[in-house]
């Protein structure tokens, strides 16, 4: 890797003749924040395809896409929160709660599509509550959402009595929610693209970065920092809820033990591996998709390679660390304009 980084650095030293177009476009590409993690994802895919010819089959790609969809959708919310300097640990529990809200609302005679929106609004309201406690009552969001994480989990287990139920179905709704193989990843990619555009090209996105980058300065510039933060908490809640309903609709069963903190950690890991800083102020939505892809490829690839489940966690842990060290130092070189 180091040779790969240093070569262009030499080309850049002094006012030497302009490098050829190939070098320049490579350099331009590498300067894009998301590039490094995409390179990692592609290298992993090449590795697993060469080690196991079943990797790039339709069936396996479907499995892979279903594995990464939910964490990627939740990561879109978590990334917005991380950028503005907050985190939501309860998202995995909201994921499990949402389809139950839909289920009970539907059982009470409400049309399924209305029940669906009620569930999303409910999850958004949980996000707002997280935001209210964190921003207005000034409890660090790590602690706030640690509390609501247990609270929501307990609530879901209570209302479901701990048993799964059948997810309500209805032709068009179930079709849209994804009873076909690649439906969920389409949702995820569309949400990623919309959120990526929103982060880069709207005032909301710009102010989210600004609030995380300089909280006091943003307030001095007249930005309503409370609104930005609470809005992003609500967004994360709603996205977690949507991911939960998509998953429950695909599987056909609504399980109180679905998602949970492993799901939340996958989403946060996807965000962080993708290049979003835990310190706030910078982040990328599309990077979250690539981060999720890396996690998914590792999980899926090692599984079909038949790696022992115990070894697997060692490998995935090490992979996360290596990816992060690589990413952080790559970013440092990038900001210094060293390549």
């Amino acid at each position: 890797m180091s040779a790969h980084i240093q070569k262009p650095a030499q080309a850049d030293a002094g006012a030497k003749p302009r490098p050829n177009i190939g070098t320049r476009s490579l350099r331009g590409f590498l300067r894009v924040r998301e590039a490094s993690i995409l390179v990692v994802a592609i290298l992993l895919i090449i590795y697993f395809e060469s080690s196991n010819s079943n990797f790039l089959t339709r069936a396996n790609l479907q499995t892979l896409s279903q594995f990464i969809s939910a964490p990627v959708i939740i990561a879109c919310g978590e990334i917005m929160l991380l950028i503005c300097g907050e985190i939501d640990l309860s998202a995995g529990m909201v994921f499990a709660l949402a389809p139950f809200i839909m289920y009970f609302a539907h059982n009470a005679g409400i049309p399924l599509i209305v029940a669906f929106f009620l569930a999303l609004i409910g999850c958004g309201a949980i996000g707002l509550f997280n935001g209210f406690v964190s921003v207005k009552l000034r409890v660090p969001s790590f602690v706030t959402t640690l509390g609501t994480m247990f609270l929501i989990n307990g609530f879901t287990l209570t209302i479901s009595a701990g048993f799964p139920v059948d997810t309500p179905t209805n032709g068009l709704f179930t079709f849209l929610m994804g009873n076909s193989g690649f439906q969920e990843i389409i949702w995820a990619v569309v949400i990623v693209l919309v959120m990526h555009g929103a982060l880069r090209n709207t005032r909301w996105g710009l102010h989210t970065i600004s609030v995380g980058g300089n909280l006091i300065g943003s307030a001095e510039s007249g930005i309503n920092v409370t609104r930005i933060k609470m809005g992003n908490f609500a967004l994360t809640g709603a996205l977690a809820g949507l991911a939960g309903i998509l998953e429950a609709s695909r599987i056909g069963s609504t399980d109180p033990l679905a998602g949970g903190s492993p799901m939340m950690f996958l989403a946060v890991a996807a965000a962080v591996i993708g290049g979003t800083s835990l310190m706030g102020g910078t982040g990328t939505i599309i990077g979250g998709l690539f981060g999720g892809l890396v996690l998914g490829v590792l999980q899926d690839g090692f599984t079909i390679d038949g790696i022992n489940a115990f070894t697997f966690n060692i490998i995935i842990g090490a992979a996360i660390l290596i990816a992060m060290v690589f990413n952080i130092h790559f970013a440092r070189l990038r900001t210094r304009g060293r390549f």
Binding site: T202, R203, L206, I209, G213, I216, G217, S218, I223
Partner: protein, 269 residues
């Protein structure tokens, strides 16, 4: 305390030919039991540059926060262009032409220069989609910086990459560009090397020469303040202890004032 220095705030109307843009009368600000401002009166004329000196805790920054609408005074009145106003918010003060360059500069390191220059007043395009007009921001940021003679090669650069002086210049350009009539500078030279402060003082000088901008600068450094300001006020423990035209005073005199009042205030306790 006012008997120490015979330089009371002129309460009379301004002299003929001078337009007054700002007047504060008997401004008091208390935070619980702490009195940050204990009845301060000040005024600012059009095209004038007022320097406010004082130690930490003298009330300078609190005064700035009141003038920018960031905090409301406990009591006292403010008039802008002869009209009495109660500033409701930062946006309200901005609408009246009051801009401030804060000590922390209110810049976001991870954003580009042009995004910082338009923070919270971004031009939009795309109709109902309300997208950021990055092209316009880039172009206008470049123009605004050139307009006040600041040489920054690339407005796409992240603010994190700029030196202290360049950051200060970007913050000042932002305030000026937003059609400031009254520009407040909170310690613009703090923690800056000689060369960088020289650049900023030059910039402030150019702004003064435009004549349409009135400035208040808060500072620690007496010599630099005397050099660029038309008039000096000294804040101590939330009160004005000295006020004079910059040409009629000197660093030794200012130091004397500080010493005297320091003793008086200490003795009173």
């Amino acid at each position: 305390m006012s008997q120490v220095q015979a330089a009371p705030v002129p309460a009379a109307a301004p002299a003929r030919g001078v337009t007054e843009v700002l007047r504060g009368v008997d401004i008091v600000k208390r935070f619980g039991a702490v009195t940050a401002l204990n009845g301060i009166s000040l005024h600012l004329n059009k095209g004038e540059m007022l320097g406010i000196l004082g130690d930490n805790g003298a009330g300078k920054s609190t005064m700035i926060k009141i003038l920018t609408g960031y905090q409301a005074p406990t009591s006292g009145t403010l008039a802008i262009n002869g009209q009495q106003v109660a500033l409701k918010s930062v946006d309200h003060a901005r609408a009246l032409g009051i801009e401030c360059v804060y000590q922390d500069l209110a810049l976001v390191p991870s954003l580009s220069i042009y995004h910082n220059m338009f923070l919270n007043r971004e031009p939009l395009r795309g109709g109902p989609l309300r997208l950021l007009d990055n092209g316009a921001m880039r172009r206008r940021a470049q123009e605004a910086l050139e307009d006040i003679g600041v040489n920054i090669p690339n407005v796409n650069e992240e603010v994190a990459m700029l030196s202290g002086g360049q950051r200060q210049a970007v913050a000042i350009a932002r305030a000026v560009y937003s059609k400031a009539k009254i520009l407040l500078l909170d310690e613009p030279l703090a923690a800056m090397g000689a060369r960088e402060s020289g650049l900023i003082l030059d910039l402030i000088d150019r702004l003064k020469k435009r004549g349409d901008l009135s400035l208040i600068m808060i500072a620690h450094n007496y010599a630099q303040t005397l050099e660029v300001c038309d008039r000096i006020m000294m804040f101590q423990h939330g009160e004005v202890t000295f006020e004079r035209a910059a040409a009629e005073t000197s660093v030794p005199e200012l130091l004397d004032v500080v010493k005297q009042n320091y003793k008086v205030i200490r003795g009173a306790h």
